[in-house]
């Protein structure tokens, strides 16, 4: 194999690649924030809600965790228009990513909630804390702290799996890379560089998530 690498083509198209990477970051970060909200609500509903709520949440979690992400994306983009809901490619991608992450993360958060000793909650009741205060300070905050590493891994996985939304014409990094590779025919070079960009983004997200952990759970508590 005497293939001649020509990376100068890639450098010419670097701004487009960065644009794609930016959309990947935007989609992932938004889906992380929204997905975490979904997860917290679902986890609380499943561990403390009335029975029908538990069933609904369990059905949602099982449905999403046992079907392929690609199929979920197709349903949001290709099937919802049939019943009159027309989402743009980016909105459909964001919705699918949020719903998907919500299901996975809710199980993680629930594990954290269930790890809270029951006596701690009873103590909070005894101190006269209100229901919402108990949830906020006694349950969810320590729970998130416990499961934070697992959540962070799930977030990074979500960012990496966002590459499949190129199939519904969202122009994130993989879509741009596919387009450039198919118009310049320098696929090796473009996929190498895309791999590097994904790695950089994953490390960046990891660093950002560590910083959030520090701000949320560590700062001012060491003393």
């Amino acid at each position: 194999m005497n293939y001649v690498f020509q990376f100068n083509v890639v450098w010419d198209h670097l701004p487009e690649l960065f644009e794609g990477a930016l959309l990947t970051i935007q989609l992932s970060a938004t889906a992380m924030a929204l997905g975490l909200c979904v997860a917290v609500v679902c986890a609380y509903g499943k561990s403390a809600g009335p029975r029908p709520v538990r069933w609904v949440v369990a059905a949602y979690v099982e449905l999403i965790r046992n079907t392929p992400f690609l199929v979920q994306i197709f349903i949001f983009y290709f099937s919802l228009p049939v019943i009159g809901i027309r989402l743009t490619a980016n909105t459909a991608a964001l919705a699918a990513m949020t719903i998907n992450l919500g299901a996975y993360a809710s199980e993680i958060v629930r594990a954290g909630i269930e790890a809270i000793p029951h006596g701690q909650i009873e103590a909070a009741h005894a101190l006269g804390l209100k229901r919402l205060q108990i949830f906020r300070f006694i349950i969810i905050f320590p729970a998130l702290k416990t499961v934070y590493p697992a959540l962070a891994s799930q977030f990074i996985l979500l960012m990496l799996s966002s590459s499949v939304v190129s199939t519904i014409s969202a122009v994130e990094l993989t879509a741009i890379t596919n387009s450039l590779a198919s118009t310049t025919f320098r696929s090796f070079e473009f996929y190498f560089v895309a791999t590097g960009l994904y790695l950089a983004m994953a490390l960046g997200f990891r660093a950002g998530l560590s910083a959030i952990y520090w701000v949320m759970f560590r700062r001012g508590r060491a003393a």
Binding site: Y77, P81, V82, S169, A175, S179, S182, S187
Partner: protein
């Protein structure tokens, strides 16, 4: 000792012309390899009717496949199909997974920068298709419309050039996603080959899919890796012979229902 040295020197002098005239050692060409192993690996795209499809038994079929079968038969070697998606047609070849790609790859000067074309073995027309309710009569009508195209196709190379500014071009990774986007109304119209468009229109009569605008006509041919001149020359010779004896025309007619246009050579 001295005599021995002199003898060696004389011997070398005498042998010199023979050494200089000897043909340079030649690396084995891809054609040599195919003939030696009695096997040719052909990359095909079975997701692109009527050129490459899977028949009801899951076997490759289509005009490209028929050409590859006939070619391997005439070469007297075994045929191994390497199935690739449309985006993998050139990478599979360059990565050495196939010796030749026969997958209706239309001739463009950009593609010729990375692969070597053989002479064309067929022609295709790119057309914009859409439902009857969408009004597109001239290229100017494309403004404000969402037009779906498939990556790594001739559409991708030509539609953005002919579409006026303000056209919303939407890219999909494979042709079935592009078709699905039109059927579900996510795009207003799509660009694809006239054959694929006809298949979609026939399969979905309720959508009233019709031809809107012709985009371009292109010739397509097999591709080989750069510097595989021997293989290219053999394929060109085969194409010449089978163009003369009508084999190419009958394959084209069988799968597209159309008469093969006169094929140019280069």
């Amino acid at each position: 000792m001295k005599i021995a040295l002199r003898f060696v020197a004389v011997a070398m002098l005498l042998a010199m012309p023979a050494i200089l005239a000897a043909p340079p050692a030649r690396a084995e060409s891809t054609l040599d390899k195919i003939l030696k192993e009695k096997k040719i690996r052909v990359a095909i795209d079975v997701g692109n009717p009527p050129f490459g499809i899977l028949d009801k038994d899951g076997q490759p079929d289509g005009s490209d496949v028929a050409v590859a079968r006939q070619m391997a038969k005439d070469m007297g070697v075994e045929l191994e199909f390497v199935q690739v998606p449309s985006t993998g047609r050139i990478p599979a070849l360059l990565a050495g997974r196939a010796d030749v790609t026969i997958a209706s790859i239309s001739v463009t000067s950009d593609r010729a920068k990375t692969v070597m074309y053989c002479n064309p073995n067929g022609a295709l027309q790119i057309v914009i298709f859409g439902p009857k309710s969408i009004a597109i009569k001239t290229p100017a009508d494309l403004v404000g419309k969402r037009i779906g195209i498939t990556r790594a196709t001739l559409e991708e190379a030509t539609v953005p050039k002919m579409a006026p500014q303000g056209t919303n071009i939407v890219w999909f990774d494979d042709i079935s996603a592009t078709i699905q986007a039109m059927l579900s109304g996510q795009v207003d119209a799509v660009a694809m080959t006239s054959f694929a468009g006809k298949t979609v229109a026939d399969g979905n009569p309720d959508k009233q899919i019709e031809t809107k605008l012709p985009v371009t006509t292109a010739f397509y041919g097999p591709i080989v890796r750069p510097s595989d001149f021997e293989l290219r020359q053999w394929i060109n010779t085969w194409l010449f012979l089978n163009n003369q004896n009508g084999t190419l025309a009958s394959i084209y007619k069988k799968y597209t229902g159309l008469d093969l246009p006169q094929l140019p050579v280069f």
